[in-house]
């Protein structure tokens, strides 16, 4: 699930997860929808016997598709909200602490990956950025705020514009960001 208006699945790992994504897209309810709208992790370890009955349309169909437990994790980078990561299990039960931690980390990685995809990054450049963890430098977040004002766009779009600039000029994202906050580079 990615983006506010154009909700849909970007990637799923098998037929069951594809079905679960499709159901949420069609029905407009489910763990991903809640995770995105409420901006928090949504955990349902037992779909057949939920602690809080919810998703009246989604639940029976998800069970039918073979899911027994579903989990949604928001994809966000500050003000940037990109959708939610969906995880399911074919048996009931909570995620282990390790699986849960992995899902949180994965949601972060996917969020940055989505930004890069939208910036039309070259595949190689993406790996390099992730390796260096450039995303986490404050200067990059500062620059996204600055560029959002300069271009009159959302921080999400500003982040994509920064990345697209970095990729097209073949410079590290952090250097481009530094130029922006030192007022050496302007967008728009």
């Amino acid at each position: 699930m990615a983006g506010d208006e154009a909700r849909g699945s970007v990637c799923n790992t098998n037929a069951v997860s594809a079905a679960i994504e499709e159901l949420q897209y069609v029905l407009g309810e489910g763990p991903c929808v809640d995770a995105y709208q409420q901006d928090r992790a949504v955990l349902e370890p037992d779909l057949a016997d939920p602690r809080t009955p919810r998703w009246l349309a989604f639940t029976p169909k998800a069970l039918e598709a073979g899911a027994r437990a579903v989990f949604g994790f928001p994809l966000r980078v500050g003000a940037v909200r990109l959708g939610a990561l969906n995880v399911y299990q074919d048996r009931s039960g909570p995620l282990s602490d390790e699986q849960h931690a992995d899902a949180l980390v994965m949601a972060e990685v996917v969020a940055h990956w989505l930004l890069d995809v939208q910036a039309e990054a070259r595949p190689g450049a993406l790996a390099e950025e992730l390796e260096l963890g450039a995303e986490f430098y404050f200067v990059v977040q500062n620059a996204a705020g600055v560029v959002s004002v300069q271009l009159g766009v959302t921080v999400t779009e500003a982040m994509i514009a920064l990345r697209a600039h970095a990729f097209s000029t073949d410079r590290p994202l952090r250097d481009v960001a530094r130029d922006v906050v030192e007022r050496k580079l302007r967008f728009g």
Partner: protein
């Protein structure tokens, strides 16, 4: 005000904040500032761990870019990372450029004007969730009394991350750590917005954000979100 009085007042204020609906980043920023004023150090910062044990900055007593970057460097090396990994304090250490256990960190610290450093782990029961880092322009170690105070601040910082007392369980804790770190990212984006709208520096942008939140009795994170959305009057950022 006598130091003892100031200390008691600080601890009471922080404890009061902890029982209300508070903003983690605001609380940690206040805590870092109090470390500076009460322990006589030059700068203080709180770093928190993401679920994959990446250490990231949550709050600092200084918003100077150099200081913020010094904390960012500690994702790779430095007293914070050591305190976090070992769960033990990293004792006072005089810094020399390019040498010692953290050569890059030491060089960065000296460039920022700090000649010694010290770090304490933030502990919650059997888990270490981050570290408190103190910097000094001088090289005199803290007294044993100061260490006790620093420990109390570190404990308060750790507790502040857990907002739901009923369950200190790992999954919830991880979500709250991620949320706190993401709040910090949101604030950095808002600093950029105000920097550009008001034509001021980043550190000043943070000050204006914080004083707006305080004077209007709003959560720092909420004001940051509103600044980004443009739902706050841009005139709010004027001098």
């Amino acid at each position: 005000m006598a130091r003892e009085t100031a200390l008691v007042r600080s601890l009471v204020e922080l404890a009061d904040t902890l029982v209300s609906d508070f903003d983690v980043i605001e609380l940690l920023t206040g805590l870092a500032n109090r470390c500076v004023s009460l322990l006589g150090v030059s700068a203080a910062g709180v770093m928190l761990a993401s679920p994959d044990n990446d250490l990231r900055l949550a709050a600092s007593s200084s918003e100077a870019m150099r200081v913020l970057e010094l904390f960012e460097l500690q994702a790779q090396e430095g007293p914070c990372l050591d305190a976090f990994r070992t769960g033990e304090p990293v004792e006072h250490q005089n810094l020399q450029a390019g040498v010692g256990p953290w050569p890059r960190f030491a060089s960065g610290a000296l460039e920022a004007g700090f000649r010694s450093a010290f770090a304490l782990p933030l502990r919650l029961r059997d888990r270490t969730v981050g570290a408190l880092n103190l910097f000094n322009a001088g090289q005199t170690p803290m007294t044993d009394e100061d260490l006790v105070v620093a420990r109390a601040f570190a404990d308060l910082a750790a507790i502040s991350v857990v907002q739901h007392w009923s369950t200190i369980e790992n999954q919830l804790l991880n979500e709250q750590l991620m949320r706190a770190l993401d709040s910090r990212v949101l604030i950095e984006q808002a600093k950029g917005v105000i920097f550009e709208r008001a034509g001021i520096g980043m550190a000043e942008a943070f000050d204006r954000l914080r004083s707006y939140a305080r004077s209007h009795n709003l959560r720092l994170t909420k004001v940051a979100q509103d600044a980004i959305d443009g739902s706050l009057d841009p005139a709010a950022w004027g001098p």
